[in-house]
């Protein structure tokens, strides 16, 4: 009995450390889409976290920590993606990655740089 209740308490307080997946939707807002530079920034940020990070597009699911994987999404401006994080720091990872999208990967809307 005691063991059981401790178990449920554990689950409640650290629900996320055991592999629950949390996700958020992001939109690729840079005019040039998710090209080499933002893909690099994204993969770098994803690798900072312990959690597994995946990006899901319509028909594809890729490893967010791999620039090659991210580039295979060929996500143009306006594309909606779901970022999924699974692991102990999933919440922080999602926040950090979401903020990259929110900031347009520090690109100006009209930037010609790729």
């Amino acid at each position: 009995m005691a063991a059981e209740s401790r178990e449920s308490l554990h689950n409640a307080s650290e629900a996320n450390s055991t592999g629950e997946t949390i996700s958020r939707e992001v939109v690729v807002a840079n005019r040039q889409g998710l090209h080499a530079r933002p893909a690099d920034l994204l993969a770098r940020e994803a690798r900072r976290w312990q959690s597994r990070i995946e990006l899901v597009a319509d028909s594809q699911r890729v490893d967010g920590k791999s620039i090659l994987d991210v580039l295979t999404l060929a996500a143009e401006a306006g594309t909606r993606l779901v970022v999924e994080a699974t692991g102990p720091d999933a919440r922080e990872a999602l926040e950090a990655i979401g903020s990259l999208f929110d900031r347009n990967f520090n690109e100006h809307a009209g930037s010609q740089e790729t």
């Binding site: 040039q32 889409g33 080499a36 580039l71 295979t72 999404l73 740089e113 790729t114």
Partner: protein
């Protein structure tokens, strides 16, 4: 997008002479000029634009691969070529490894989608380690061409 949609086969180089970042970019741009894909008058400004892009962050994306690229009004469709350096070149790549395999891309300024789809094709195929290895060990431009054709044939239709 298939490799054959943007790789100028006559501009493929299986053994670059250059041993620097700028050198290999120059050699590949010259190959595109010689193949008639970019104009002589645009050569220098294309090289400059590619180098300027490299200054923002290396396009050496890891696994010994780099994708130097730029947009340039001198082309009206995406053109590109492939080169291999057997020794490898310091490209300040993201993983710090020397680069052996180069895909150079020049796209028209108003076609970001084509550029993305070319990057997609390249990165999709390069996730296959043996494909990378085979390309890096190509003995002649023809070997590279055949490998790209094979990848096109088996690739995911997009």
């Amino acid at each position: 997008m298939k490799f054959s949609d943007f790789v100028a086969t006559e501009a493929i180089r299986s053994h670059v002479d250059a041993d620097t970042k700028e050198g290999v970019i120059r050699e590949m741009a010259r190959a595109l000029v010689d193949a008639g894909k970019i104009g002589t008058a645009d050569e220098e400004s294309i090289i400059k634009a590619i180098m300027k892009r490299e200054d923002l962050g290396s396009t050496g994306i890891g696994r010994g691969v780099a994708v130097p690229h730029t947009k340039h009004p001198g082309v009206n469709r995406l053109v590109g070529t492939v080169a291999v350096s057997s020794e490898g070149i310091n490209f300040e790549s993201l993983d710090g490894e020397p680069v052996q395999l180069f895909f150079l891309l020049v796209s028209p300024p108003d076609r970001p989608g084509d550029h993305l789809r070319a990057l997609e094709s390249i990165s999709r195929q390069l996730r296959d380690e043996s494909f990378c290895k085979l390309l890096k060990s190509a003995k002649a431009p023809m070997d590279i061409q055949h490998l790209l054709e094979e990848a096109d044939g088996h690739g995911v239709v997009s």
